[in-house]
Symmetry: C2
Subunit: 647 residues, 2 copies
């Protein structure tokens, strides 16, 4: 079905070599005022001197320095003030012996004068001025051309024009400058299932992400993009609209309709627009295999996969480097790669070049790349991914502590003031909202990974609700188990009611966990390792001890990853019953049968406790305003010792 699978580097190189033959990067002359973010195609040499004339660098009096020889406090000299010069004004005649001209900073030096004496050393009375200090020839004068002379190199070719370079060019008074032309890009989304925002969703359809997202990434790259909207899977229409857009743009990016389901629709369209046509169909990449690249008449066409995260990652990996070369941005080093360290061992690669989305936690010494183990259709990863690791096909897994290169998706990665790694909680979200001046990085990887992050020094705070099966205590028993006793402390958080979620008015009359064992109910479970799953299995243990197998509960193996997903499954009728915390009742009209209160606490490294940002976090946690906020979340309640360190 695919033609020949090529590597990413081969794909980029084969497109670029054809575009280079067509004359890219191309030069153009544009107004200096519009040149921001362009790259100079030629060095710029000064055309005017700077300053353009001898000028005063002080407010004072311009005169002949020889007339002031020997002047000091004890021997002041008096001059006749024959005129006044402001900036932009030229004094009409040559200044004679013992005459002077009052002069402003920036004003031209009158003929005959060779120095300026600062106003601080003078005293004017009507048309006379008494001067208490001598000056040497040239003092307080900036000579014409002394700063920049005609012919001096002002800006080197291949420099990117920022506000700074634009200022230097403006000082030269030129109207136009030679730069590399930025390719203009047209963006399309394709697919019958794609609908624009604001439209109600029919079953089977999803909102368009790629059009707005790819346009925004291009904008962040400094490239103009026009988004043409969504096209249906109709070859004739797609062909006609892209043909039109290709008259205007140098590059066309489409996404979607590349998979097997539509045969080779995008392939045929991109191949039919000019010579040489499709040059790449199929890249050794997961996700991203169905990527299509075509070149037609010196223009570039790329068909990206449909799933948003896939489309975005493949755009960064394949489209961006080619467009950078077209714009000659490759002459300034690529800004979107950083080094990072893998926090724990996880599977990746296994026979295909594998793009793993990650969140970056910046510590003092290194960046840590937390994998987002979401599949390529994930929308939550869209908001969380700071970048991705490009794992070669020969790898089976990435090892804890290994250094990797991350292609960044987020242009604003920086060291956070406060890093919270661990279990996700609505209460934490509320605390962070009360800290608008802190840059907070929250990584939701579950309680136990939070403990590991504290151990490795990656997090300031870990949110945790681990249940010890022996003592039925939350969190504190794990200080010893984890080896963190003495190195870290638990700060008491708050309680969250957990219980059974059932449909409104409880049609199946569920009242306890025992009903799962005895009644025929369809259950929706949480993933192993979650605090609530531990609680459930603990409660099932007496029945298991009597010979009951939990797999007999229909849906026991149907695991979802969040509390809200449990409520969604019950509300949508996919399950009769699930286990979650009460707060989900705010989002879905379901009923709730309380079973237990779990403790959500905070683990903190002793060394981080005194940090300002950590102190601010706990100040909010202990505040009355926050406790009021907490009550508004169903099932949440503060404890007597909320905000206190547990000893």
């Amino acid at each position: 079905m695919y033609h020949k699978l090529v590597t990413v580097d081969e794909a980029v190189e084969s497109a670029w070599s054809l575009l280079k033959e067509s004359g890219w990067p191309k030069g153009e002359s544009i107004p200096v005022f519009e040149s921001l973010d362009h790259v100079l195609s030629e060095s710029f040499y000064a055309r005017v001197d700077s300053p353009p004339f001898d000028r005063s660098v002080m407010d004072g009096y311009a005169l002949r320095s020889s007339d002031l020889a020997g002047a000091d406090d004890a021997h002041p000299k008096t001059f006749h003030v024959v005129g006044r010069e402001d900036v932009g004004v030229v004094f009409g005649r040559e200044v004679q012996q013992n005459e002077c001209v009052k002069i402003a900073t920036g004003a031209p030096i009158p003929r005959g004068c060779d120095a300026v004496v600062m106003i601080e050393f003078t005293k004017q009375t009507s048309s006379e001025v008494t001067i208490y200090k001598g000056v040497s020839s040239g003092e307080n004068i900036a000579q014409a051309g002394s700063d920049i002379s005609v012919g001096d190199l002002v800006l080197r070719a291949n420099k990117r024009i920022t506000s700074r370079e634009l200022a230097a060019l403006s000082a030269q008074g030129i109207k136009k400058i030679n730069v590399y032309r930025k390719p203009s890009v047209g963006v399309f989304s394709t697919g019958n299932e794609i609908v624009p925002s604001g439209t109600p969703l029919k079953i089977g359809s999803i909102y368009d992400v790629n059009g707005p997202a790819i346009s925004a990434i291009l904008h962040e790259m400094g490239i103009e993009a026009k988004f043409y909207g969504i096209l249906p899977d109709d070859e004739k229409q797609v062909m006609s609209e892209i043909t039109e857009a290709l008259k205007i743009h140098d590059v066309i990016i489409t996404s979607g309709s590349t998979s097997a389901g539509f045969g080779d629709m995008i392939y045929r369209v991109l191949d039919g627009l000019g010579k040489p046509g499709v040059i790449v169909h199929g890249v050794k990449l997961r996700p991203g295999k169905p990527t299509v690249i075509a070149v037609a008449g010196g223009k570039l066409l790329i068909g990206l996969p449909g799933f948003p995260l896939s489309a975005i990652m493949v755009f960064h990996l394949i489209a961006k480097p080619i467009i950078w070369k077209m714009a000659a941005f490759h002459t300034i080093s690529e800004p979107n790669k950083i080094k990072a360290v893998v926090p724990f061992t996880f599977d990746a690669g296994k026979g295909k070049r594998d793009l793993v989305a990650v969140q970056i936690v910046q510590t003092k010494n290194s960046n840590i790349a937390y994998p987002l183990l979401a599949h390529s259709g994930s929308a939550s990863a869209l908001a969380a991914a700071d970048g991705f690791i490009d794992v070669p096909e020969e790898r089976e897994f990435l090892r804890e502590g290994e250094e990797v290169e991350v292609t960044t998706l987020n242009p604003l990665i920086k060291v956070a003031d406060l890093t919270i790694i661990g279990s996700h909680c609505l209460g934490v979200d509320r605390i962070i909202e009360r800290l608008p001046n802190l840059e907070v990085k929250a990584v939701n990887v579950g309680s136990w990974s939070g403990w590991q992050a504290i151990k490795r020094g990656e997090a300031d705070i870990a949110g945790t609700h681990l249940l010890d099966e022996k003592t039925m205590e939350y969190n504190t028993p794990f200080l010893e188990k984890s080896g963190l006793l003495g190195r870290a402390v638990i700060v008491r958080g708050y309680s969250r009611k957990i219980g059974l979620v059932v449909a409104k008015n409880n049609p199946k009359h569920v009242s306890s966990i025992e009903d799962l064992v005895h009644n025929k109910l369809i259950f929706v479970n949480r993933n192993k390792g979650s605090g609530i799953r531990t609680y459930l299995d603990f409660k099932l243990k007496p029945f298991v001890d009597e010979g009951f197998s939990p797999e007999l509960i229909e849906g026991y193996t149907y695991e979802v990853k969040t509390h809200t997903a449990v409520a969604a499954a019950v509300y949508q009728g996919r399950a009769d019953c699930g286990i979650a915390f009460e707060a989900v009742t705010a989002f879905y009209p379901v009923d709730f049968i309380p079973l237990h209160e779990e403790k959500y606490d905070f683990l903190v490294d002793n060394d981080r406790l005194s940090r300002n940002s950590v102190q601010s976090f706990f100040r909010v946690l202990g505040s009355e305003e926050f406790k009021k906020d907490l009550i508004s979340l169903s099932g949440y309640s503060a404890n007597a010792d909320t905000g206190k360190i547990l000893s």
Copy 2:
């Protein structure tokens, strides 16, 4: 003349407290598609589930998992294919026992099915498919809401919207989002001496830099600005045009006309536009003292000083923080401050808060801030300054090795591939132009500072033409003198002819340095420490030994900093004669009397010699193409050993 001088912090605080009272930062609802670079004013919680329906994450067959129980290679099971589902297509009826539906990745799961088996484990023949592997319930299905459920926190308030956040919002299908409104800014330049680019310069006038530069900086901040052009120093006209602009904009920035020369014109205008009027007139700052700040009807007006570098630095220090707060960008930490180390001791402060423009050299361990010891009217500093140090008034100097905070002016500061510190040379510019793929940082501070930079490990290469008075040899004798013998080497560069510059056709019949001693010539000198000044003083020594005083040469104390400034002074008739290298004759129509060939060589740390970027530099130096280039510069010539290490 000024009212009360205030500190920068007081100035920012007094403006901000009034703007805050007027309701800044202000919220607004804007289309998601236009929300890039805005800051969320409210947290955004999911309004639709993601995925919005149960969907397949694989290409394969949807079926009932119980029908496949026990299937494997040895015991395949056969199903009736009753239909096909592509993305966006919904299968019409409930799937029955031993039926299946062919399904594409992303397509909705048909009713009745609870699993998808991957196409790799199947073999279809007409309407039957044989399946060689069992699946568990839920396998290869992404459940509705399993990734994001209604009510989940998607984006936290105060987050800046990058392409990543825009993607997450698009996935939610919303059309509008609540953000903080960015203030809209109008920019004016004022001053009779200011002319727009493209206009011929009359004496006393200069090109407008501030209008384009301030607009560009605002654009880099993510703030829209409209530049209204240049206004003359006419109070009535300035008042009327700013009054009009204030109807449209939230902020007005003017520059120029703030100094003593124009009385209090800008003060009166900014004070007359509404209540409370001018709140700051005079800031404890050099440059920047005449800055004016006014607030009128909840709008901000700032009058910046006229000299471009001053206007730009004061904008960064005072205007930017206030505008950031108005836009609520203060909720994301300010990106334009970095720590740096001072490379040598220099004067600064001395009773006024002092802004010192610097170039940043990034080394592996730290940033080094090289001061640009230019006065505030300098245009060359505009192109070179990476930022500035804000020196408190109580300081007298900054000490070598001291850590300072630099406010950056250049948004693209990064570690250079190649750092060259030392004497400026046109030949070096030509080499660098042949290295378009290297990020090169060239800092022109003179030969000797280049040697110091090599010693401290800040530079890869130092360009040098130091003359040893004893041996009359260039550069090599200094290896021992500097203590770098064994640690660094000299790579042979090329020769530059130096000599006397005189007016065209040599009207004063100058032929040698002796003429300076014997004839009445007006001379233009170079600064002490420059290689050519050392040569001149060496040549004058025999006369000095005979009792001649160089100060008797008229203009001996008139020092300029560059070769081209020497030629400019002679060409413009300010001097009869000067000393410079021959290359200046390309820029000014002057005559040249050769005296000597100086050697321009390169000092390199042994440890850096093998670096790729250093190797590339010397490869160009030794190339025939470069040697040809060199000859086109008058007075330059390659040596037999150009590009060789001198032992």
